[in-house]
């Protein structure tokens, strides 16, 4: 093991809990992750002894809270290697981040006859905002197809990107686990004069991120998938692009001046942060970033590769043809997120039997219906692993699957 797993598990109070006397086997971190005690404590302490609105009032508590809030921004900026802290905008979740880009950048830059490029493995959050805007502005959406292995099929990428204004793609599929070659995709986009928007929800929590090395234009990601609280998401964007964009939500904090006749915008990042911000949540997120930094993102990735290898081997050995695992079998190009079909048992029923053993997996379309149609499935079961999961938990999943098989062939 590259990381001290017992030590890590001890930091997550819920992992020590039992339900019906049995431990929790939480395999749904691609959906949302659990929180270490340090995150919980940071938020409690802040609310109990340091709470104050930020960026408005001038008293001591307010100044201190503002420093903590802005400190979270600086920490996040470093975590993804952004050039400036003010390139990081806090939103409510990655979905809002992507809507912000579509609405503010898109509405100003896309019109009839234009095209943007998405991939066939996108989450609804990176599809629907563009469809909403396309219905209004009349641009077209082109789709990068997939190979049989669940990788992006780049054989016609130049054709797809030809004349496109933006290429928006996930860094890692939340269904297939596929890790996309972000740097290469960004450079392809730029070669065609398109900006590159990265949906980083599934990769940022699981491996090192370097937006400058990627040379990406925007990156959207969420706190709750990377050990932080709900209620806060992030949009990073290149300063020049953010500066040139119109605002998104209007209200307090995002203005320089308001008269009866109109308003002028504040500077970055306030320009995109209308109203009272997720202050408590930023403090929690800050503690989550500290936690991940202390472990090291390379080590997180290493650990998850080991789990992936073990999971692929064990599931295949134990269930052979009874299980179909979607996506690539090469752990170098995939994360520890496994969608699968098991015999002809419906994913909802699989998850129900697994739940009897406190094995938590997600069953459904994973907010990726276009991809599900491509897979020819209405739903899949999905087990996803994180830094706190163990190979023992892979075994627990397998044991519960065995029982599922028995139950449904009675």
């Amino acid at each position: 093991m590259t990381i001290d797993i017992d030590h890590i598990r001890a930091d997550f109070p819920i992992l020590a809990d039992t339900i019906n006397g049995k431990p929790l086997v939480y395999l749904d971190s691609a959906n949302s992750s659990h929180k270490p005690q340090s995150v919980i404590d940071a938020m409690s302490t802040f609310m109990a002894h340091q709470y104050s609105p930020t960026n408005r009032s001038a008293y001591f508590l307010a100044a201190q809270a503002t420093e903590m809030y802005e400190g979270a921004r600086t920490k996040v900026a470093k975590f993804i290697n952004a050039r400036h802290a003010h390139e990081v905008v806090f939103t409510k979740n990655a979905t809002e981040s992507l809507n912000l880009v579509a609405r503010a950048w898109g509405a100003a830059n896309l019109s009839t006859g234009d095209a943007i490029v998405l991939t066939h493995m996108e989450h609804h959050a990176n599809i629907v905002p563009w469809q909403m805007l396309a219905a209004e502005k009349g641009f077209t959406i082109r789709w990068v197809p997939l190979t049989a292995d669940g990788l992006l099929d780049l054989s016609h990428i130049d054709q797809l990107l030809d004349g496109a204004k933006a290429f928006s793609f996930t860094s890692m599929s939340n269904v297939l686990g596929t890790i996309n070659p972000v740097k290469e995709l960004v450079s392809l986009a730029h070669r065609h004069g398109a900006i590159a928007i990265v949906d980083g929800c599934q990769s940022v929590p699981h491996m090192p991120t370097d937006v400058q090395d990627w040379d990406a234009d925007f990156l959207a990601f969420s706190s709750h998938k990377m050990l932080g609280p709900t209620g806060i998401g992030m949009l990073w964007g290149k300063e020049s692009l953010l500066d040139a964009m119109p605002p998104f939500l209007g209200g307090g904090n995002m203005i320089a001046d308001v008269t009866l006749n109109g308003f002028t915008c504040a500077e970055l990042p306030a320009k995109f942060e209308a109203g009272t911000q997720p202050i408590v949540e930023a403090v929690g997120l800050s503690a989550a970033v500290d936690y991940l930094n202390a472990i090291g993102m390379h080590n997180v990735r290493q650990h998850e590769m080991e789990i992936s290898r073990y999971a692929l081997d064990t599931l295949t050995q134990r269930f052979g043809e009874d299980i179909v695992i979607h996506g690539s079998k090469n752990v170098e190009v995939r994360g520890a997120t496994f969608s699968f079909a098991f015999r002809d048992v419906h994913p909802h029923d699989i998850s129900q039997v697994l739940d009897q053993h406190n094995v938590c997996v997600r069953a459904g379309h994973h907010c990726a219906k276009p991809l599900m149609r491509l897979l020819g499935a209405h739903a899949t079961a999905r087990a996803s692993f994180y830094l706190y999961n163990t190979t023992d938990e892979v075994d627990a999943l397998c044991d519960a699957l065995t029982e599922t098989g028995e139950f449904f062939t009675l």
């Binding site: 419906h346 994913p347 909802h348 129900q352 599900m372 209405h378 139950f407 009675l410």
Partner: protein
């Protein structure tokens, strides 16, 4: 936490494995679609209504054991029944599923085998599965009434 046997009664698994009234009906029969956006389940309910009687019903689409067996049991329970009686049964079934906003029903509509689905209530997430066919049927009856 309730056990699997509360959910997967034998009769439910039976309907799941041997669904009744699978298939489609040609117009003028009414076709109604239903979705469970949570899990991707889809159903189509076809009904023929003659003289205020549901003279025929067919089900297609796919889903989990609970949504499939609920649809199958529903089709068996209502085929040949007067529309008013079917509506009462829908109401009673949704009441059994403790759906918000459904008042105390007329208990003269007998549940019969459907009572096996009562255990679903202990699994709140699955209630939507059990109710999918019934909501779709109700919509179909509304269309028929127009």
């Amino acid at each position: 936490m309730p056990g699997l046997e509360d959910l997967y009664r034998e009769i439910i698994l039976d309907h799941y494995k041997s669904p009744r009234n699978r298939g489609t009906l040609e117009p003028p029969a009414i076709r109604t679609e239903g979705h469970n956006p949570l899990c991707g389940d889809e159903i189509e309910v076809y009904i023929a209504v003659d003289n205020d009687i549901v003279s025929d019903i067919k089900i297609s689409g796919q889903g989990c054991s609970i949504s499939q067996s609920s649809a199958s049991m529903m089709s068996a329970a209502i085929k040949g029944k007067p529309v008013a009686e079917v509506r009462a049964l829908i109401h009673r079934f949704k009441h059994m599923m403790s759906i918000e906003d459904v008042e105390e029903p007329d208990t003269s509509a007998p549940l019969g085998d459907l009572e096996a689905l009562q255990g679903v209530v202990k699994f709140p997430v699955r209630i939507k599965c059990a109710v999918l066919a019934w909501n779709t049927l109700a919509e179909g009856l509304d269309t028929a009434a127009q």
